[in-house]
C-alpha cells in the first residue's frame, strides 16, 4: 500500500521532513552550544568526560521533571509548583527521618504519596474550578513555599534539615537514587563521577517518548492539548488524562527531591524554588508548544542538555558565571523563535 504514491504528494525531501520534527531545532542548538563552549574552553575538559560528567549531572534532574512538564504542556496545562515540590518532598523526608527516626524507605514512600496527592489536587482543582492551571499551580507554589519554610523552622529551629545520612536504610536508598559511578579511563590518574540521576533521566526520556508516540495515553495527551472539545466528542477522557499528568509531574519532581535529599544528606527550606522555570525552559527549548498539542519528550531532554552545558561551559570558559541566567534567557528566546520559524518553513509556509 505504501508503494502507491499520489502525484499530489509534493516530494517532501527527507531534509524537510526531519526539519519539521519539533526537537530538531533544539538538537541543532545543542550542537551549536557544544561547539561554542568547546572553542571557548580554557580547561581542555569541556568536550571530554569531565565536561560530560558536569553537564549531565545538571541536565539529568532538569530533564527528568522537564519531560513530565513537557507532557503536561502538550496537554495544554502548566505546573508552576513543580520546582517547590522538589524542596517539599526533600524536606518532608528529611524531617521524617531526623525527627521521627523513620526508615528512609518509608519516608521516601510517604514523600512521594504526598507529592502525588498535591499533583492530584492541582489537577482536580483545575478540572473542577475551570480556572487556568497557571493560577491554580501558582497558588500551590506559594502555599508550599511558605509551608516549607515555616514547617522547617518550627520543627528544627533552622532553615535546613541535616543528618539524613544517619537514617536507617540510607545506604541502600543512596545506591539506587544518588550513587556516583566513578569513571576513570586512564586507570585512576583522572576520575570523573557520573550520577545515578543520569540513568534515571535516560530512562525517563525513553519512557516519555514511548508513552507519547506509541500508547493510547500519549494519543490522548496530544488530543487533550490540541483541541479538548474535539477530544471529548471523540470519547477521550480529557479530565482524567490531565489529572494523571499533574500527578506525574508532581511525582517526578518528588523523585528529584528524593535524589537531592539523599545526595546532599539534608535540605534547605528554599530548595527547588525557581526550578519550575528551568523545567518550562527545557520543554520550550525542546520544541513543546506553549499552547499545547505539540512537543516531545526527547526535545525536553535536549533542552535540559543545553542548560547543563551552559552551566558548566560558562565557568570553563572563565566567563563571569553571574551571567548564566542572562545567557539562558537568550537561549530560550532564540530557540523558540528558531523552532517556530523552522517549523513554519518545513510545513510549507502554513501555520
Amino acid at each position: 500500500m505504501s508503494n502507491t504514491t499520489d502525484e499530489r504528494v509534493r516530494r517532501a525531501s527527507v531534509f524537510s521532513k526531519i526539519l519539521s520534527m519539533p526537537e530538531v531545532g533544539a538538537f541543532l542548538g545543542a550542537i551549536a552550544i557544544f561547539i561554542l563552549f568547546t572553542s571557548r574552553d580554557t580547561t581542555g575538559n569541556f568536550a571530554g568526560l569531565g565536561g560530560l560528567a558536569g553537564w549531565s549531572d545538571i541536565a539529568s534532574t532538569i530533564g527528568m521533571v522537564g519531560i513530565a512538564v513537557s507532557l503536561l504542556m502538550i496537554a495544554g496545562e502548566f505546573d508552576l509548583s513543580s520546582g517547590v515540590m522538589v524542596g517539599s518532598v526533600g524536606l518532608l523526608i528529611g524531617l521524617l527521618v531526623t525527627e521521627f527516626n523513620m526508615n528512609i524507605w518509608l519516608a521516601i514512600i510517604i514523600g512521594l504519596v504526598f507529592a502525588g496527592a498535591i499533583g492530584f489536587l492541582n489537577g482536580w482543582l483545575v478540572h473542577k474550578t475551570k480556572l487556568p492551571s497557571f493560577i491554580v499551580t501558582l497558588a500551590t507554589f506559594f502555599v508550599l513555599k511558605g509551608a516549607n519554610l515555616a514547617y522547617t523552622m518550627m520543627v528544627t529551629g533552622a532553615v535546613r534539615v541535616t543528618g539524613v545520612d544517619k537514617a536507617p536504610g540510607y545506604q541502600s536508598a543512596y545506591n539506587i537514587f544518588a550513587y556516583q559511578f566513578i569513571v576513570s579511563p586512564d586507570g585512576g590518574v583522572h576520575s570523573f563521577q557520573i550520577q545515578a540521576s543520569v540513568i534515571w533521566w535516560v530512562g525517563f526520556t525513553l519512557l516519555g517518548t514511548w508513552v507519547l508516540t506509541r500508547t493510547k495515553f500519549g494519543n490522548w495527551i496530544y488530543a487533550a492539548g490540541g483541541d479538548a472539545n474535539a477530544a471529548r466528542n471523540a470519547g477521550v477522557p480529557v479530565a482524567r488524562t490531565k489529572i494523571a499528568l499533574f500527578v506525574t509531574t508532581a511525582l517526578t519532581a518528588g523523585l528529584v527531591g528524593v535524589i537531592d535529599v539523599l545526595r546532599l544528606q539534608g535540605m534547605q527550606a528554599g530548595q527547588g524554588i525557581g526550578y519550575e522555570f528551568f523545567y518550562i525552559i527545557a520543554a520550550a527549548v525542546g520544541g513543546t508548544l506553549l499552547t499545547g498539542g505539540a512537543g516531545s519528550a526527547i526535545g525536553a531532554s535536549i533542552g535540559a542538555v543545553i542548560m547543563g552545558m551552559a552551566y558548566i561551559g560558562i565557568p570553563y570558559a572563565q566567563w563571569d558565571s553571574n551571567w548564566t541566567s542572562t545567557f539562558l534567557g537568550l537561549i530560550l528566546f532564540t530557540a523558540v523563535m528558531v523552532n517556530t520559524y523552522i517549523g513554519r518553513k518545513a510545513r510549507g509556509g502554513k501555520r
Binding site: 514511548w210 494519543n219 477530544a231 502554513k350 501555520r351
Partner: protein, 261 residues
C-alpha cells in the same frame, strides 16, 4: 425501508422556555433526512436530543423500534448514533490516522505494556478513506493540512467505521465554499448508499435539496412542514423555509430599496 429513529410528539423545555414543541420526525435507513430551519428554529436542541446530550421533556424517542433513554453522548454513540460537529470534529495538529482512531485506538500487548498498533491503524485509515472515495495523500500528515471538506469527510468515514447506523451532520457545509460543500455532499451520499441513516441539519435549502429524501422544516420550536422528495420543488422549499409570505414581503422591500437607488 425501516425507520432507524423516530421522535413522537417531543417537547423540550428549559425552565419557562419551550425550545421544541410537538415535534415528530421519522428517519429512514439508507436515506438522507434533512432538518431545515433558520437560526433559533430549534435545530441545536433537536441535535442534542438525538445525540444524547439532552433528554426530551415530553414525548417518545424511538431508536430501531425500541424506546431510547440516553444519559450521555457516549450512550447514543454505543447505540450507533454518531454526530459530526461542524468545527469540533478533528484535531488539526495530529496526523490523519491518529485523528481517525482517537478514542478508539487499536493496541497490542498486555496490561501496562499495551502499545499502539500503528501499522494496522494506518492501513485501516487509508483503506476506509479510499472505500469512501477519499483519495488522500499521506495518512501521516497533519489533518490541519487538509481542506475543510476533506476534514469533514474523514470525520464521516470515522463515524461509519466505528459502527454508526445513524449519522447526524450538524451544519457540515455552512463554513465551506461551493466546491468544498459539494465534496461533503458527495461523501454524505456515499454514506447513504452504504445504508446509513443520514440526518443532515442545515439552513441552506439548496444544499438540502441536492441530497435530501425527506425534509422537515422547523420554525420557532415547532415542526412547520414536511416534504418528501417526490412532492417538493426547490422554490417551494426555499419559500417554506423563509416562512413563505415573509420572503415575498422581503423581496418587495428589497426591490423598493433598489428602485430608489
Amino acid at each position: 425501508m425501516a425507520n432507524a429513529l423516530e421522535l413522537r410528539n417531543v417537547e423540550k423545555s428549559f425552565g419557562s422556555v419551550i425550545a421544541l414543541q410537538g415535534v415528530s420526525i421519522e428517519v429512514e435507513e439508507g436515506a438522507v433526512t434533512c432538518i431545515l430551519g433558520d437560526n433559533g428554529a430549534g435545530k441545536s436542541t433537536l441535535i442534542k436530543i438525538l445525540s444524547g446530550v439532552h433528554k426530551p421533556s415530553k414525548g417518545e424517542f424511538i431508536v430501531a423500534g425500541q424506546p431510547a433513554d440516553y444519559d450521555s453522548p457516549r450512550d447514543a454513540l454505543d447505540a450507533g448514533i454518531a454526530t459530526v460537529f461542524q468545527d469540533l470534529a478533528t484535531i488539526p495538529l495530529m496526523s490523519i490516522w491518529r485523528n481517525f482512531f482517537i478514542g478508539n485506538e487499536i493496541t497490542k500487548g498486555w496490561g501496562p505494556f499495551q502499545f499502539l498498533d500503528v501499522a494496522t491503524m494506518r492501513a485501516i485509515t487509508k483503506q476506509q478513506l479510499l472505500a469512501m472515495g477519499i483519495d488522500l495523500r499521506d495518512v501521516n500528515q497533519q489533518i490541519g493540512t487538509l481542506s475543510g471538506g476533506e476534514r469533514q469527510a474523514v470525520a464521516i468515514a470515522r463515524a461509519e467505521y466505528f459502527g454508526a447506523k445513524v449519522l447526524i451532520l450538524d451544519e457540515p457545509t455552512s463554513a465551506l465554499g461551493v466546491r468544498q460543500s459539494g465534496i461533503v455532499l458527495k461523501y454524505l451520499l456515499k454514506a447513504k448508499e452504504r445504508g446509513v441513516a443520514v440526518i443532515f441539519i442545515t439552513h441552506n435549502p439548496s444544499h438540502a435539496f441536492l441530497v435530501g429524501d425527506r425534509f422537515f422544516l422547523l420554525n420557532r420550536g415547532r415542526l412547520l412542514n414536511r416534504f418528501e422528495r417526490s412532492n417538493v420543488q426547490m422554490e417551494e422549499l426555499t419559500k417554506a423555509m423563509a416562512g413563505g409570505r415573509d420572503l415575498e414581503t422581503l423581496t418587495e422591500e428589497i426591490e423598493a430599496v433598489r428602485a430608489r437607488g
